[in-house]
Amino acid sequence: MSTIYDHGAPGRRAVALPELGQAEEELLARFPPSLRRREGPRLPEVSQPELVRHYTALSRMNYGVDTGFYPLGSCTMKHNPKLHEDLARHPGFTELHPLLPAEECQGALALLWEMGECLKGIAGMPGITLQPAAGAHGELTGMLLLKRWLEDRGELGVRTKILLPDSAHGTNPASAAMAGFSVVSLPSDRRGMVDLAALEGALGPDVAGIMLTVPNTLGIFEEDILTITQLVHEAGGLCYFDGANLNAYLGRARPGDMGADVFHINLHKTFSTPHGGGGPGAGPVTVSEALLPYLPVPDIVREDGKYRLVWDRPKSIGRVHPYFGNTLVIAKALAYILTLGDEGLREASAGAVLAANYLKAKLKGTYRVPYDRLAKHEFVLSGEGLGDGVRTLDIAKRLMDYGFHPPTVYFPLIVKEALMIEPTETEPREVLDAFAEAMLRIAAEARDHPELLRDAPHTTPVRRLDEARAVREPWLRLGGGCVG
């Protein structure tokens, strides 16, 4: 696999830049000697065609939603509408500096304010911050809001624990820990839901709150959600809702009506913005009445059709983002919400849940469904017992040979050999059928030709990669002080 460093030759360049007024040496001579760089950074030297061909070649070794079906559970890989890309590239957004006075940025502030109103409505909650740059960043923001709330009530250091179902995303405990909380794991019951008896046993004067994912990572709606939030509130704690799975009930239920005090929303999941190969996303956070005073500053308010920034929030946790949040991502998500309207949002969750249940029905005779209930937007299968030594990883890799991106694997942790499948609403029925067909054929192969799975993938640019070697012999860059 070549890198860009394998191309080009000394002296080549891909861009024509303006000339300096003075000679380089003259300018550099003005530098204090201690500051002048002795050895320049080693960067590629390539012509523009070499550059374009290299990255085009890389793109062809990649798989995105635009390539094909991407049923990665908990990631909501729905179609990314192309209109939004063009709109977010408008220089009125991209070239606007965030430190300009508010009166020079009325359009951008209006965009953010309007998004805030939409998301508050969708969540059914009265307060919002758009600052968090990703879901986990929203989680941390939420945990810091809880911390400030405790501090304000004189309970900091008393309520130190966050309860977490054992099916939670890994970011949840990591975020709680970053805010200084300790984590108590709650077992799931036989239904795959929070065990109410265990919850009651865990609640007490040392509990700050609970972090819940609704529906949970098994794709199951917490049917006792009102009881859970009531119990936590009665015990003096608050309820954090992880919104990674909002696509399951968009336009038909609201966290604010379920007892949520904090709720983060992944715009790069539910609201269709592309994931960029890992980011950027956006993780706005909505809050209940109790947490309004602690929201990050500045707040954006609208008065007489004008937008201004409000800094006067003495109890605020402060800033979590250096500016206002990921404006361009927010612009794309707002375009999505405005296109769909209430009815379209409701149809999105209907389509997502329909697709998930349809696929589950097609697969459940062949694959074990450890918690077989009505699915929401995703469902979890187990790859156990399919054939001689065949593991879920093998199924995932074999799916690549059939042209599909694999589902999320080995998560949630409470299911052995888990396959977490989230089809989303944007896939035609033929694609769902083709995927189901591939899964069924793979199950048959596991029985009759297990080596086909264990040797998979066969059709990708590289075969299965040696992850242990990557750790044993770390090779994390070209040149320099590392191996290689």
Partner: protein, 438 residues
């Protein structure tokens, strides 16, 4: 109507029939009735593409600031972005992919991540870099948390000259982790004036250049710190010609990567970069791509050292970060590859040359001078009698500088911060000077 929903009425019927479920609403019977009954719509009608386009473009055009000539910095800079960057980014196999969990389908992403890590190490003079953080501010905060976890110290030394919004984000994270920030003053030259390092210090933060645009001398700083980390917050453009923090023993180098091929974007998305020493690899937050081999001995890349990360280590993880700023990091990679070493040096020196030309002319005007004597790169603090009046004059000439209040938290009441990049022309510099003279 949802235009992104492909299911026809026949599809829906067939899918429901296959499951033996009467209607779509039955799929939501597990949501408690009390919750469903409380639901209220937002009040949004559906809109066609043309209407959405009009609305968003209207908003984009409503900001008067976009028509001003920017002499704006304060952490984000208006550099030239070669169109080739945008064209690579629009390859949707790259832009519509998720985090590269499945390496065999993600060699494109993993390869450019490896290239990016290499380039960031080269710029900063460090040994290993991660595949990006959200932005420079949170990268700085995470570097401080790294220092705290490594050394156990709870005191963070922060320069008074640090950009105010960086300090604000750092303060929020530090409070969350139970750390306290101690301020390090600056001298008459505007540079860091480090005094005694208190016991229990986990890190000294130094900004290169600092919030006044002044280049710090990092010589000897690491020797004053004992076990505490030297964390440098660096602008990557000057690093083309300025000795990198890695040469001065920095333990972590972080910064805002926006100047590398990313627009200012009203403050987001941005690009945090983070680089450190191999000794701290297992304490580093974020994704890392590593080269390995496939079963046939062919070179390939995987996400590696994942046991540091939240999805494996949960509450014991080095950070909660999951989604990062990948596409902005790709922009930086393509930008650096397009410019090459000579192009990056050119951009840096053009900014340097034009900033100094402008500073010399402003300082020669009656009532104006430089706030500090220290060496600056492409941003500088101007002292003036009436900063608000100066901003108003510039505004009338169609020029934007940061409001004078930006420098207040740094202890400067009578100053203006002016940034110049290679995009500012001779004519625009003339216009700037003429506006102040007027």
């Amino acid at each position: 109507m949802n235009p992104y929903l492909p299911h026809t009425a026949e599809d829906v019927r067939a899918m429901l029939d296959a499951m033996g479920i009467p209607d779509v609403e039955a799929l939501f019977s597990d949501i408690p009735a009390a919750v469903r009954e409380r639901y209220r719509p937002v009040g949004l009608p559906p809109r066609d593409e043309l209407a959405v386009q009009r609305r968003l473009i209207g908003l984009a055009e409503d900001s008067t600031g976009r028509r001003l000539i920017p002499f704006l910095g304060g952490g984000l800079y208006d550099h030239y972005i070669p169109p080739v960057v945008g064209h690579v980014l629009s390859r949707s196999e790259l832009s519509t992919a998720y985090t590269p969990y499945q390496a065999e389908l993600s060699q494109g992403t993993l390869t450019w991540m490896f290239e990016y890590q290499t380039m960031i190490c080269e710029l900063t003079g460090m040994e290993v870099a991660n595949a990006s953080m959200y932005d420079g501010a949170t990268a700085l905060a995470e570097a401080v948390l790294m220092a705290h976890r490594t050394t156990g110290g709870k005191v963070v030394l922060v320069p008074r000259s640090l950009l105010p919004h960086l300090r604000a984000v750092l303060a929020t994270y530090a409070w969350g982790a139970g750390l306290s920030l101690h301020e390090v003053p600056y001298g008459e030259d505007g540079r860091l004036a480090l005094g005694r390092v208190p016991d229990g210090t986990c890190a000294l933060v130094v900004s290169q250049p600092n919030g006044f645009g002044i280049l710090e001398d990092l010589t000897g700083l690491k020797d004053c710190l004992g076990r505490a980390f030297l964390i440098a917050y660096a602008n990557p453009i000057p690093l083309a010609v300025v000795e990198p923090p890695g040469s001065f023993g920095a333990d972590v180098v972080v910064g805002e990567g926006q100047p590398l091929g990313n627009p200012v974007s009203f403050g987001g998305p941005l690009l945090g970069f983070l680089a450190t020493r191999m000794a701290y690899l297992r304490r580093m937050p974020g994704r890392v791509s590593g080269r390995t081999q496939d079963r046939e001995g062919k070179a390939g890349y995987v996400m590696t050292f994942q046991t540091r990360e939240q999805h494996i280590r949960r509450e014991g993880a080095t950070s909660n970060i999951c989604t990062n700023s990948a596409l902005c990091a790709l922009a930086a990679t393509v930008y650096l590859a397009a410019l090459g070493p000579a192009g990056l040096r050119r951009v840096a020196l053009l900014a340097y040359e034009r900033a100094h030309a402008l500073a010399d002319r402003i300082a020669a005007l009656p009532g104006y001078g430089m706030e500090f004597s220290g060496p600056f790169f492409h941003e500088f603090a101007v002292r003036c009698v009436d900063p608000h009046g100066a901003v108003a004059k510039l505004r009338r000439a169609g020029i934007a500088v940061l409001p004078p209040s930006f420098l207040h938290p740094l202890g400067i009441e009578d100053g203006l911060l002016v940034a110049v990049t290679e995009k500012r022309t001779e004519e625009e510099l003339d216009r700037f000077v003429a506006a102040l003279e007027g």
